[in-house]
Symmetry: C2
Subunit: 392 residues, 2 copies
DNA sequence: AAAAATACCGCAAACGTTTCCGAAAACGGT
DNA sequence: ACCGTTTTCGGAAACGTTTGCGGTATTTTT
């Protein structure tokens, strides 16, 4: 018969049902329930990681002493500290960051949400973020929304649940509701917006200087002798679209050129729409002599389509884009664009986060503007077309 | 006088030095040390997150009951469970993943180390990894080695310290020692290599089919009528370089073409070296009629240099690259390349990790080969040059 | 009616740190 | 010898979960 695991005798032991598939017993003498075979408390821990307690045990000191020694606390004797450091080195002790994070509720991790890592602009932003972050001892967790509002929200929630120390986000194109980045939703986790920002929530922001970039690029076209400058703008709802349009219009006004409505088209950035707009312009009695595409991929679409249609660039029509990528220099003719410095944008976003961590409640949300540089290549050099050598 | 905080009387209380800047007292009657003003144990917790205990307290049940209810355990009464779920919803309870991870020693995070996120190939790999990972409920932590061995090692260590569940790595160009990815160093964390793998450590690997890709692209050139096919190879030490060279040589042999030593150049992928090699070839009494650049950026360098030198592509010299990127389709003439499917590579690497997690010790490391597809564009269509329309 | 089984839930020990508080010993000045 | 001081260290609680096992009430079976 079964022996009571307390009094160690079989007297008074009776069965008492099953629990989780195992037979249970009851000792009347001891008034004690028990199971036939207990599991060992720690079943041969797989790949044991050295802990503070292990170090402490070797030296016969308390875990708290080891912790203090490792963290450079003052209250520890120099000899003790040396001994502890030595043992820790020998045992290859590595602090468990999870435990540290749980205790301190700081993960030293920042979450980044971007629409698409495959787009060079965002990849470069991430690179900038990561550089600043890793220099400050932060790790980076990256999520892609793939331009979907739902994915964006779920990414934000996942990052918050992972207890990131901060959230750097560039909204998806679909996003119109921003409740998921409000302090209530992020549980007070600092949020920094970059590139596609939103006004509804008071956060630190990094934006690029759309207005000035568009102004400069338009002015450049005018200086090249263009008088009928078309603009291939994006959706009117988009802030970047509005700002770039405004810069373009200001440059026209400044140089006393009329803003012709037939030379302004809003598209959704799709290649087909860009080509369709081009064909409408080419069919005009007086086609444009320059086109400003506010999206860099559309500028490429135009270059290709113009070549197919045997229109000489820049002599007949100059083309400028917005956003300088590797390709802009490689294509023939080289594309004149504004370098948006995505690396700087990322760096700055990360710096704003660090600032916020340091200043805590004292931090005043502010907006940092990263200005672009005009990069002149062949596609816009009407006057001097062909004279310049390839700019690679 | 100071009152003893135990017997609450000033009798027998005497000062007993300072500790951490604060006056200490000693009550002789109680044999008890104390400080003048104790800190409250929990000084108004900032932004309190709802915990299991909070939910438990509301309902007057034990935290363990709440835990079981939320995790769908069997031992909970339906009414109790409903009530707990309801309260958890009301209090917006979100489990603390840090605590869960600490307990289960599983973070549901995988670490990825790549040379450079700004390179489209790697960005796309990451995208593939992330898609598979997030579908399986894993988060992704990304590090860049920037082609530096030291950074790679420190990235690996940081990820291991963060207790990632797995490590997906593409080595830097500098890396020749692989101790940092050995099981001892990664503390048993599963490692999956992709793209740039190493033979020294027994891990799951995902590689691209360099040999076949090179073979196919070379054969394609031969079919187009090329007979003097030059190869712009990479450093001989690189595995990809050797494999692609071997594929190229096999295609030549298969078609009974001689492998001419003067048409083979090993470079370090630098644009200047590519152009220098080209100029040497053009100076030959009998220049090549096709060039296979095993690196896609070098293929672009060649196209640009050939245009500068007024050499017609593909009529005089055909050019093919390796690795299909956005640009290959955009440039004029379109570049014939092998699509390496970086997205699939990433997906497969993530899948191998998931497999390893599932099978645990039973997992047999295996190597998965992702084969490339030949993408034919204008730059190699010698026979039919100009007939095809732009492939965008 | 006693024994056995079931259903449900609580206690407490972990996971690995950090840190508040107090103890003990050593020290120094009357 | 006494008292105040300093130095150094240990105990234990806490961070928020999960989970093995035991207790109790209720139901079912002999």
């Amino acid at each position: 018969m079964m022996k009571c695991s307390k009094c160690n005798s079989p007297d008074g032991v009776q069965r008492a049902g099953f629990i989780r598939g195992r037979q249970r017993y009851f000792c009347k003498l001891c008034d004690y329930h028990f199971i036939d075979q207990k599991l060992p408390r720690t079943p041969e821990r797989r790949s044991h990681q050295t802990t503070i307690s292990d170090v402490a045990k070797v030296l016969g000191v308390a875990p708290s002493t080891v912790s203090r020694a490792l963290n450079g606390h003052a209250d520890i004797n120099t000899n003790t500290r040396q001994a502890i450091l030595e043992v820790a080195r020998q045992l290859d002790y590595q602090p468990n960051l999870l435990a540290q994070s749980l205790k301190s509720s700081a993960t030293h991790t920042i979450g980044v949400v971007i629409p698409d890592i495959e787009r060079p602009f965002f990849a470069t932003c991430v690179s900038g973020i990561q550089q600043v972050a890793s220099e400050a001892g932060y790790r980076v967790m990256i999520c892609q929304s793939k331009e979907s509002y739902e994915m964006e929200v779920s990414n934000v929630q996942a990052l918050i649940a992972s207890r990131v120390d901060g959230l750097l986000i560039c909204h998806s194109r679909e996003t119109e509701n921003f409740d998921h980045v409000r302090p209530a939703a992020t549980r007070g986790v600092p949020v920094v917006h970059f590139d596609r920002v939103c006004d509804e929530v008071e956060t630190a922001k990094v934006i690029l200087d759309d207005w000035n970039g568009a102004y400069n690029v338009t002015e450049h076209l005018i200086e090249q002798g263009a008088r009928r400058i078309a603009i291939l703008a994006g959706p009117e709802s988009l802030l970047i679209s509005r700002n770039r349009l405004a810069g373009y219009l200001s440059a026209l006004t400044k140089h006393r050129l009329p803003a012709l409505p037939e030379l302004r088209t809003h598209i959704n950035f799709r290649p087909e729409s860009a080509v369709a707009a081009l064909d409408r312009w080419l069919a005009l009695p007086e086609p444009p002599d320059a086109i400003f595409a506010i999206n860099y991929t559309n500028a490429f679409d135009l270059l290709v389509a113009l070549k197919e249609r045997q229109v000489r660039v820049p002599e007949e029509i100059a083309v400028v884009g917005f956003g300088d990528e590797f390709m802009a220099a490689m294509i023939e003719p080289g594309l004149t664009t504004v370098n948006l410095h995505p690396h700087r944008i990322g760096q700055q976003a990360a710096r704003l986060f660090l600032e916020q961590v340091e200043q805590k409640e004292r931090f005043q949300p502010r907006t940092f503007v990263v200005s672009g540089d005009l990069i002149i290549r062949k596609s816009s050099l009407k006057g001097l077309g062909g004279v310049f050598s390839l700019d690679i």
